[in-house]
């Protein structure tokens, strides 16, 4: 059964090829159904594979399928091979599952779009790249998938490229990711030069503390982490993600919330044995994760665009995952990643349903009272809202609780930051919820809405909402605190042998921390309810500092943008205009001046030439005579 693994990446690839060459002929909506079928097939293959994997003995639960040798250069043998183990299969399950639902949703959401088949071409290529990233058995192949998802992300953010904002958002995402990718590349160089391999299992079987030592391990981890901050939108490279919301909403749900942005966390979990060696580098990761979670949560409190709130919320939630990785709680990070994929996918799809129903309106201040018009979206949104807020018993409570427990064990200050962020999370999600679904209908623009009142979405869009709502409510069953060793922890134990989950946490402490989490979540919801139930403007809470993202973009503009532009202008005007053009044009002018000067010598009179010859002869004779006689 495990040999069905090759179908997982193959089916989306086939879907991509079919749609790329025959998509226009298939048209709307058949192209969408083909894309959905490919990804659904991939999900089925993942289910079959994971069932086969679960049937294997615990310590041999991994295998590699090699297809061909991609780069055979001396000591560097890079194979196109996939590694199937509990970690990669956990990723594959939710990547293909959520992707299939979002493909289905897109059939409804993208209906009537001019480039309908193209959308599914990109989407299938994205799923293929993501699966390559996840399943690769070496760092370089992971990097191929890493770049593939980055490229698809760029295409899909700039999908409506005739809008200036969308085109520049795509470029911004691409450039921010380049900065991170540089770190990834250098890390690979470093690891290869020290150990001579890039294959995960070979690498981790080596005596790494001899080969790398703490310094090189920390450098490699931090460089890989730089790559992760780019892909997973962490400080200092998080600004691209909110702008990425220019893409169609299913794209935001799939790429910029549920799957691609978690790739950085996955990479960190994949190289966990390196992290174990890296000492203080882990602390850097934990602090950056915690800081990102907090900063993004404060910003999300003041955003007006429904998708921007969700984008900053995503940044914040991934911050939690990074915090968990920095605290060596890899399983907690993966658990939160899966839980987050469910509820954040649902939040985005629900937001897409709202935007669809309101004919493209994204401003929270122009929504309200939608619960009467979109009952199914409203009902499913409650699940997502309570899940991300961390209200028990939804999966957000358990997953976030795991992360916070580990933060407590690592350092109480990190825990404090995490709990503060949890409060903010519950608050801003409640704000979003109450502004969008309850209160007065503020979208009531009679001229516009008389003929088109908000409407519930078609079944292809609501079915994924219902499935994800069930997953968000019941997702916690994969990892319950009192059954750790039978669930996700036990399942991932072969991968994270070092991660003895919460071994040092006494149970009463866990219960106390869990109670604190629940109280904080309910408190946040309560504050949101009290403040935003029937108010739409609170200038103090929506101040410019928060709305302008802590002036982060402005700081980058001043630090890098303006000097960059000044340098470009210097290069264009002075270096290119004066220096290079000057040299080229100067050479031409010199030749021209010489030519017009020397031209006068050619008089056309034979006697002048004869005189020249005569003078020359005399000169030669005089010279020779002087040599002979003097």
């Amino acid at each position: 059964m495990v040999h069905a693994a090759f179908l997982m990446p193959l089916l989306p690839l086939v879907g991509f090829v079919v749609l790329a060459f025959g998509g226009r002929r298939l048209g709307d909506p058949l192209a969408g159904w083909v894309g959905t079928a490919a990804v659904t097939g991939s999900f089925v293959a993942a289910c079959v594979t994971i069932a086969g994997l679960a049937g294997m003995a615990e310590h041999s639960r991994h295998f590699t399928q090699t297809y061909f040798t991609w780069i055979p250069v001396g000591g560097l043998q890079v194979k196109a091979a996939i590694l199937v183990d509990p970690l990669s299969m956990t990723m594959c399950m939710f990547v293909t599952g959520v992707s299939a639902l979002i493909h289905l949703y897109s059939i409804g959401y993208m209906k009537g779009d001019g480039d309908y088949p193209k959308f599914f071409v990109y989407l299938n290529l994205f799923v293929f790249s993501m699966l390559v990233l996840v399943l690769a058995n070496n760092l370089l192949l992971t990097f191929v998938g890493w770049e593939g998802v980055g490229l698809c992300s760029y295409w899909l953010i700039a999908y409506w490229f005739d809008r200036d904002t969308a085109a520049s958002a795509g470029k911004k995402a691409f450039l921010y990711n380049r900065v991170g990718d540089a770190g990834f590349l250098v890390a690979m160089f470093l690891i290869f030069s020290k150990t001579g391999t890039l294959t995960y299992r070979t690498l981790f079987a080596l005596p790494l503390h001899h080969l790398l030592g703490p310094g090189a391990a920390a450098a490699a981890v931090l460089l890989l982490f730089l790559g992760a901050t780019g892909k997973s939108a962490q400080i200092p490279l998080f600004n691209w993600l909110p702008d990425a919301m220019e893409g169609p909403t299913p794209v935001s749900a799939l790429i910029h919330a549920a799957t691609m942005v978690t790739a950085g966390v996955y990479l960190m979990a994949r190289v966990a044995p390196l992290l174990e060696l890296s000492g203080d580098a882990r602390l850097v990761i934990a602090v950056i994760g915690g800081a990102t979670a907090f900063v993004a949560a404060t910003i999300a409190c003041a955003q007006q665009d429904i998708k921007k709130v969700l984008a900053f919320s995503t940044v914040s939630q991934i911050g939690y995952m990074v915090l968990a990785v920095g605290c060596r709680a890899y399983v907690a990070a993966i658990f939160l990643m899966v839980a987050h994929a469910f509820y954040k996918g649902l939040l985005f799809l629900g937001a897409g349903s709202v935007i669809h129903g309101l004919g493209g309106e994204q401003d929270l201040k122009r929504m309200g009272a939608l619960r009467r018009f979109m009952p199914l979206t409203f009902a499913t949104y409650i699940f997502a809202w309570l899940a991300i807020a961390g209200v028990p018993p939804f999966d957000g409570f358990w997953a976030k609780g795991d992360v916070l427990d580990n933060a407590w064990a690592a350092h109480p200050a990190l825990w404090g930051l995490g709990v503060l962020t949890a409060l903010l999370t519950a608050y801003y999600m409640s704000r979003l919820f109450f502004l969008a679904f309850t209160g007065r209908a503020r979208w009531d623009d009679p001229a516009q809405r008389a003929h088109h009142p908000p409407h519930e979405s078609p079944w292809v869009m609501t079915l994924p909402l219902v499935v994800l709502a069930v997953a968000a409510a019941a997702g916690f069953v994969i990892d319950l605190p009192w059954a750790h060793h039978d669930s996700l922890v036990g399942w991932l134990a072969p991968v994270f042998a070092h991660d003895l989950y919460q071994a040092h946490q006494a149970t009463p402490t866990q219960v106390a921390l869990g109670v604190v989490d629940a109280v904080v979540a309910v408190l946040g919801v309560g504050i949101g309810w009290a403040l935003w139930r029937n108010r739409t403007e609170r200038p103090l809470l929506e101040n410019r500092f928060l709305q302008r993202v802590w002036f982060w973009d402005d700081a980058y503009d001043t630090l890098f943008g303006r000097p960059g532009q000044a340098m470009a202008r210097f290069a264009a005007v002075v270096v290119d205009g004066r220096l290079i053009d000057g040299a080229v044009n100067g050479a031409a002018a010199l030749v021209r001046a010489t030519g017009s000067g020397v031209r006068r010598l050619q008089t056309g009179y034979v006697r002048n030439y004869a005189l020249g010859i005569a003078v020359g002869v005399v000169a030669v004779i005089a010279f020779m005579a002087s040599r002979t006689w003097i």
Binding site: Q602, T603, G604, A614
Partner: protein, 101 residues
Amino acid sequence: MSLNGYWYLILAAVLFCIGALGVLVRRNVLVMFMCIELMLNAANLTFVTFSRMLGDIGGQVLVFFVLVVAAAEVVVGLGIVVAIFRRRASTTADDLHILKG
């Protein structure tokens, strides 16, 4: 009394200089031709003189070549002169400066 060979060489040099000067200062193409002939024959005289002085027959052989080449040159040159004269009714070399740069 036989003259010293150097006198012949000096005469040849004088003839050559007269010819060269004529080519430089005269405008008439025919006169320029005659001056070129003068230069060629000055060279011939030099050849013959050295032939005598050094007792080597090679110089005299070379003179025959020069005479043949000179004759051919005159034929071609006069042909050109006639062609030009037909077009421009003049034999002044300075009229022909269309190759001026």
